[in-house]
């Protein structure tokens, strides 16, 4: 079996605290979109997580469970 990425939720960064409820990932509630992008970028650079934009004010960060070198 070849290595296929299996993303799992790592963190959630949102400007709309009512839109997301807790689960397996911590939720970071921020004031503005700039702050949201900054926080997401920060977490991504620190943890090697990939940022995805849901386009509803929420960014999710995922990491690959079984990851080829480099997180492809």
């Amino acid at each position: 079996m070849a290595v296929a990425p299996t993303p799992v939720m790592f963190a959630i960064v949102t400007t709309k605290p009512n839109a997301v409820h807790g689960g397996m990932a911590p939720v970071f509630v921020v004031e503005s979109e700039e702050e949201r992008d900054r926080v997401a970028m920060w977490i991504s650079r620190i943890t090697n997580a990939t940022v995805h934009d849901l386009h509803n004010g929420t960014l999710i960060l995922t990491v690959n469970q079984v990851s080829p070198p480099g997180g492809g």
Partner: protein
């Protein structure tokens, strides 16, 4: 020739030359960016000398009724099975050190090829020596040339360029954050800075299969990893730990499943011609050669474009 008589060196020399030449040619037309350093070449050349010598001396030993010597030579030949393990171990160790891996299939392919080439060199040497021994020098040399050419042709497998067209494609973003290489959706890039980096520095190509065989190759996820590795090795990649979205990707056009693939990369050397040449030169992997079944999970690993509720942008 008698066992007590003087040894006739000619068949051995001709056979040795043919076997060694066969291995040398294989090194020159290496299928991969490996070996890339003199130390790698030296060990390959040393093995080539040994292989060619075994192949060329075995006929002479048999003809001289030296059966003990012949048996020892076959024993020596089995030592070459270790070449495969050595190659695999080296490449696997390297895999954890590089950011764009080769993938297990590609590594296995390289290892098998290296092993096979030593045996091929041995066979060429053996056949050439036999012909020289039992016919004459002229025919032996001619046969040696033929064997080397046949072996070379036999060993060079198909490349991606043989089964796919590779064309430059524009990089664009749809719905704000979905990265496209031409028509092929690659991934979701959530960070604005990374999107700008892709638009400014990125390169993209489309791989269009020429036939079913090309499509089968592309559907193999290990094949696409090998393509991404070769692309990154050719033009470099602006990627570091902590920048997962800058990983070069090679993905199929999903969910339409047209068989087309796209590749995006943020290169160090923005040279589209070199990128295309490298992709065309990537060998078709054995594991993906004939299978027509999709080797990947058909469910896209990333959110589909229609799943995004945002219609603006």
């Amino acid at each position: 020739m008698q066992s007590s008589g003087p040894i006739d060196w000619t068949p051995m020399i001709v056979g040795f030359a043919a076997g060694f030449l066969s291995r040398l040619l294989a090194l020159r037309t290496g299928r991969t960016h490996y070996p890339g350093f003199p130390s790698g070449y030296v060990s390959q050349l040393a093995l080539a000398v040994i292989a060619a010598m075994i192949g060329s001396s075995i006929t002479v030993a048999l003809a001289g009724k030296e059966f003990t010597a012949a048996t020892f030579l076959t024993l020596a030949a089995t030592q070459f099975r270790d070449v495969r393990n050595t190659e695999r171990k080296t490449l696997e160790a390297e895999e954890s050190l590089i950011l764009v891996g080769r993938g297990a299939s590609y590594i296995e392919g390289i290892a098998v090829t290296y092993e096979a080439r030593n045996f091929l060199s041995m066979l060429v040497a053996l056949a050439t020596t036999a012909v020289t021994q039992f016919v004459n020098l002229g025919v032996g040399i001619a046969a040696g040339i033929v064997f080397v050419l046949v072996g070379e042709r036999f060993m060079s497998g198909p490349r991606i360029g043989d089964v796919c067209d590779v064309k430059p494609a524009p990089i664009r973003f749809e719905k704000g954050s979905l990265l496209y290489a031409g028509d092929v959706m690659m991934m979701e890039v959530g960070l604005k800075g990374s999107r700008e980096r892709y638009l400014q520095h990125g390169l993209a190509v489309e791989l269009i299969p020429k036939n079913l065989r090309g499509q089968a190759a592309l559907w193999n996820v290990a094949q696409r990893q090998a393509i991404a590795h070769e692309a990154a090795a050719a033009v470099g990649v602006q990627k570091d730990v902590g920048y997962p979205e800058q990983t070069p990707l090679c993905r199929m056009e999903m969910p339409n499943a047209t068989g087309k693939a796209g590749l995006t990369i943020i290169p160090v050397d923005k040279d589209i011609d070199r990128l295309i040449r490298a992709i065309k030169n990537t060998p078709v992997l054995e594991s993906g050669k004939w299978s027509k079944l999709p080797m990947t999970n058909p469910i896209p690993a990333h959110p589909e474009p229609d799943a995004s509720p945002a219609k603006e942008m």
